[in-house]
């Protein structure tokens, strides 16, 4: 009997531990694109820094994945198998089928400097990318790429950011130099839904309400759409004199939003975007926040301060602490569901 009791006790303890671990284990992996030459890299000159895609480990450190590329901007993963991912780099779209062990420059000579790459989660064979001279799409898991620009202007289609509507396959919004464009047929055709004076830097869809989108721009401040991107209005309370670089939603709290800016630093809202405050106390001066992100598992706020480091805040910007990646220029955050790993 005692043996049986001990066994039962052990089983119970193990079960409790498993539940506890499951509760603590993050549901997402964080990947970042970063360069570590402090902005002084000159093409052709000596540079031994390690750059490219990094993954956050359990202890908070970051592990470099495979290919050392000094200028990567965006990474996207196949939801069926996160070992297959794509990177927008100065050299073109980089594709790895095995978690970064092997790579291929998936695009040809006629694609240079893609700025943003996104897999359609509802049609993951399809991958979209914004490029300086327009837009390209792959229908075969990134193996081949074609132009998809019907409806985009001949001039004015510089595309900085691509976002796929997670609720509809083939529904994509892009941020260009002339505003925001929408396709609902997988990039077969585009329509202009909002005009901007300069480049749209970021587009994000709310994790709480798929009809709610935010955009940030170089010259028009922050924009919001409440109808899935068909119409846009300026977001009051956000300064518009200088460029805003990206925007983040908190997946745990619909009231929480964050904006990154070289000039304003980090701006947050805790009332769904009605009011905004600067949360720069504790960040290096000058607080040139190149990118921000909010951890979908914990609500932790990230601020990538240009060529300084990654900073993290667990009280939504009231206090900050160093989060690694010293001296880096982080150009993109991507949270990937662990289920796809």
């Amino acid at each position: 009997m005692p043996t049986r009791n001990i066994t039962l006790a052990l089983l119970g303890w193990c079960a409790a531990l498993a539940v506890s671990l499951a509760a603590a284990a993050p549901l997402h992996d964080l990947y970042i694109c970063a360069s570590n030459s402090r902005g002084t890299r000159v093409i052709g000159f000596k540079d031994t820094s390690l750059n490219g895609v990094y993954r956050r480990e359990a202890d908070g450190s970051f592990t470099h994945l495979g290919l050392n590329h000094p200028m990567t901007l965006s990474v996207t993963f196949d939801p069926r198998d996160a070992r297959l991912f794509y990177v927008a780099s100065l050299s073109g779209i980089l594709r790895t089928p095995d978690g970064g062990q092997t790579w291929r420059v998936a695009t040809d000579w006629d694609v240079t400097e893609p700025k943003s790459v996104v897999v359609d989660p509802n049609d993951p064979d399809t991958v979209y990318a914004g490029v300086p001279d327009g837009f390209i799409v792959s229908r075969d898991r990134g193996l081949t790429w074609v132009r998809a620009e019907r409806g985009l202007p001949e001039r004015g289609k510089y595309t900085q950011v691509v976002q796929v509507d997670r609720t509809h396959a083939g529904r994509v919004l892009i941020g260009c130099e002339t505003g925001i464009y929408l396709t609902e047929d997988g990039a077969k055709s585009w329509r202009h839904v909002f005009t901007c004076a300069a480049t749209v830097e970021d587009l994000q869809q709310s994790p709480h309400d798929p009809l709610f989108w935010l955009a940030v721009t170089q010259a028009d401040g922050a924009l919001q759409s409440r109808d899935g991107g068909f119409s846009w209005t300026k977001l009051a309370g956000v300064p518009a004199e200088h460029a805003l670089y990206n925007v983040a939603f908190d997946a745990l709290n619909p009231q929480r939003l964050a904006l990154a800016s070289w000039t304003y630093g980090l701006l947050t809202s805790e009332d769904g975007g009605r009011t905004w405050v600067e949360r720069n106390a504790g960040l290096p001066v000058p607080h040139r926040v190149w990118r921000t992100a909010i951890d979908p598992d914990t609500g932790r706020l990230y601020a990538a301060v240009l060529d300084q480091a990654l900073f993290v805040s667990d009280d939504f910007g009231r206090t900050w602490k160093a989060g690694g990646m010293e001296g880096s220029r982080i150009t993109g955050f991507t949270f990937v569901p662990r289920a796809a790993r």
Binding site: G39, H69, L90, S91, R104, D108, D110, P132, T199
Partner: protein
């Protein structure tokens, strides 16, 4: 002279005290008296050998750090020390690789030069680096020329290797197809609507070297002949645009140093090697060795040689070029650039119509005069609007706006964001040139950085005379120059740049050389203009006679609402030039739509033709990219 001494010091630093660099530090080259083909060829090969021998001698077997890619190329080209070189290559390949496409072409050259000399281990080490090291492709045409030429050749050297053995993740055949696709695309652009990075003082090497490599080593007969033809094309342009070997403006891309000391660029290495009519720069311009390593495989066409060295006849040349790619904030992707060059024995005048050709390093116009020895001499005169804006940088660079201007200084381009710069172009400058008259007009919107015009006045000018008429008369070499600012001005010393030690990027301090240095004519007026006229001293009895002739010419101008100049030139042309309108010469407005790809005494091509005709005297060479043929003929 101070500059010359500092260049000598640089050369000494590069070479070590025991390795004088003969042609750089020696007397001015003397034009050969024997211009027969064989004699020219021998002289060319002698110069090439000088480069190889000098580089080889800088390699010290007991100091491995003295043996870099330049020394390896030299030794392989001379068939020296294959064992030592192999050992050094294996060491170098164990280190982290860096340099992107500037890494690719030297190692491509070493791979080909070393095919029959290097050890199997050394060859394998290089080959494996093309799998493990990922060189960036870059963001401009010179990058792509180096990247794709190197990738093409290496994929030919290892023709059947699988995708996993290349950094691109593509097989040898896929690499070749991609590289060939780009290179033909670039050649198509250059031979139909003009080159993008035209007349570059340094970047010429980044085109000429890859083209030489294609011509030398490509197994694909199409790429081999294309490389040869493009190299001829580049050298023909160099010959046509140099004054005694010195490349002058306009330049799509040049540097703070070269825009003043016009000789001090890699282009002078090519003039020296090909034409023998000017000294090479220190260390043969750095990249010269990579041309020299394969230079024996190129023979300069005689017709091009004679264009380079013959300045007995004045000539005007008009060329069509294009801007760098404008990714955003522009109605045009690669707008046309209309370039004019007027060449005389004593001076050359060159310009394009103004506006932005490249965001940083463009030089729009100048008068450059001939000097007995160009080393250390600032033999040029021009004005420019010192323009700096994030929007224009974003037009050409796909980067975020903030920090762009500051980062340029840290990337080795110190002057972009300073008001007293003398390098760069402005969207608010319009230029017209007729023979040796240049009119530059400026209409700068309020709030633009920077609200001034900078006129460059060299330390090497003599007889500087501020005339009560408003003209400033100067003499440079055997050339009389008249400079007319259209608005009030003051003088400043032109400060130089001294590079400081830095662990991260470039850092600089400004240097004032005082009254002995160059001067800037600074005119802080938004609506502004400059008129320059040039003449050979031989044309006038005296400097005073030149001044009198200029002062006698009718000249009217106004600056409001936009600058307008109406003048009679020294050559008797009636010119009316209004900012924003086509210039009118002798009553006829200039029609830019009729501008040809090349039109002049020596170089001629129709727009869109892919066919360049090069002539001098009885000699003629036709480069036809439609048929991929080179046709030489001698007119009876």
């Amino acid at each position: 002279m101070k500059k010359f001494i500092s260049l000598l010091a640089l050369a000494a630093l590069l070479a070590g005290p025991t390795f004088a660099q003969p042609a750089y530090s020696g007397p001015m080259p003397v034009p050969p008296s024997d211009t027969r083909t064989d004699a020219l060829r021998r002289a060319y090969l002698d110069r090439v050998k000088e480069v190889l021998v000098w580089y080889s001698a800088t390699a010290k077997p007991d100091k491995p750090e003295t043996i870099g890619t330049g020394q390896i190329v030299a030794k392989l080209a001379l068939h020296q020390d294959a064992g030592l070189v192999s050992q050094r290559i294996i060491e170098l390949m164990k280190q982290p690789q860096t340099g992107d496409m500037f890494w690719m072409f030297p190692w491509a050259a070493i791979s080909f030069l070393g095919r029959d000399q290097l050890s199997a281990e050394a060859k394998a080490a290089i080959r494996d680096a093309w799998r493990t090291y990922f060189p960036m492709r870059g963001d401009t045409e010179n990058h792509w020329a180096m990247y794709y030429s190197s990738l093409f050749l290496m994929s030919e050297l290892y023709p059947d290797d699988p995708a996993g053995s290349w950094f691109t993740g593509k097989s040898s055949a896929e690499n070749r197809a991609e590289a060939k696709g780009y290179l033909i695309h670039w050649m198509d652009l250059a031979t139909t609507i003009g080159q993008g990075e035209y007349n570059p003082t340094h970047y010429i090497g980044e085109y000429a070297i890859p083209m030489l490599y294609l011509a030398t080593w490509s197994k694909d007969p199409e790429m081999k002949i294309r490389g040869h033809m493009m190299l001829d094309w580049l050298m023909a342009e160099l010959a046509d645009n140099t004054l005694n070997g010195v490349l002058r403006g306009p330049n799509a891309r040049t540097t703070e140093e070269s825009v003043l000391e016009r000789w001090n660029g890699l282009s002078s290495f090519f003039s020296w090697t090909m034409f023998g009519n000017t000294p090479p720069p220190a260390a043969y311009g750095g990249f010269g060795i990579f041309f020299a390593g394969a230079a024996e495989n190129y023979q300069l066409p005689e017709v091009i040689y004679h264009i380079a060295v013959d300045r007995s006849q004045d000539y005007i040349q008009r060329d069509l070029k294009r801007t760098r790619r404008r990714w955003r904030y522009s109605d045009q992707f690669m707008p046309p650039v209309y370039k004019t060059s007027y060449m005389r024995r004593d001076y050359a005048v060159g310009s394009y119509q103004g506006g932005q050709s490249d965001p940083i390093q463009t030089h729009v116009w100048d008068v450059t005069w001939a000097v007995p020895d160009p080393r250390g001499v600032h033999n040029t005169l021009f004005s420019m609007h010192p323009y700096a804006s994030t929007e224009v940088l974003q037009m050409y660079f796909t980067e975020q706006p903030d920090g762009l201007i500051d980062s340029l200084s840290g990337q080795g381009k110190p002057s972009f964001g300073v008001p007293d710069k003398i390098l760069g172009a402005s969207p608010y400058e319009r230029v017209f040139q007729d023979l040796d008259t240049v009119v530059a007009l400026y209409d700068i919107p309020p709030g633009t950085s920077y609200p001034r015009i900078n006129g460059f006045f060299s330390k090497d000018l003599t007889q500087i005379t501020e005339d009560k008429s408003g003209w400033i008369f100067v003499q440079g070499g055997h050339t009389y120059l008249a400079y007319r600012p259209l608005a009030p001005f003051h003088w400043e010393h032109l400060l130089g740049y001294r590079q400081l030690p830095s662990a991260h990027g470039y850092k600089w301090e400004r240097v004032d050389k005082g009254e002995q240095g160059d001067k800037l004519l600074v005119s802080e007026h938004l609506k502004n203009g400059t008129i320059v006229q040039a003449a050979s001293a031989d044309e006038f009895k005296s400097f005073a006679a030149f001044q009198a002739a200029i002062n006698a010419l009718p000249l009217e101008f106004r600056l409001e609402p936009v600058p307008v100049v109406k003048l009679t030139t020294l050559r008797g042309k009636q010119v009316t030039f209004t900012y924003g309108q086509a210039p009118v010469v002798d009553g006829a407005p200039l029609d830019y739509t009729k501008w040809k790809l090349f039109e002049g005494l020596y170089l001629n091509a129709e727009k869109g033709s892919r066919r360049l005709t090069i002539t001098h005297g009885q000699l003629k060479r036709v480069l036809d990219f439609n048929t991929l043929t080179i046709t030489d003929s001698v007119t009876p």
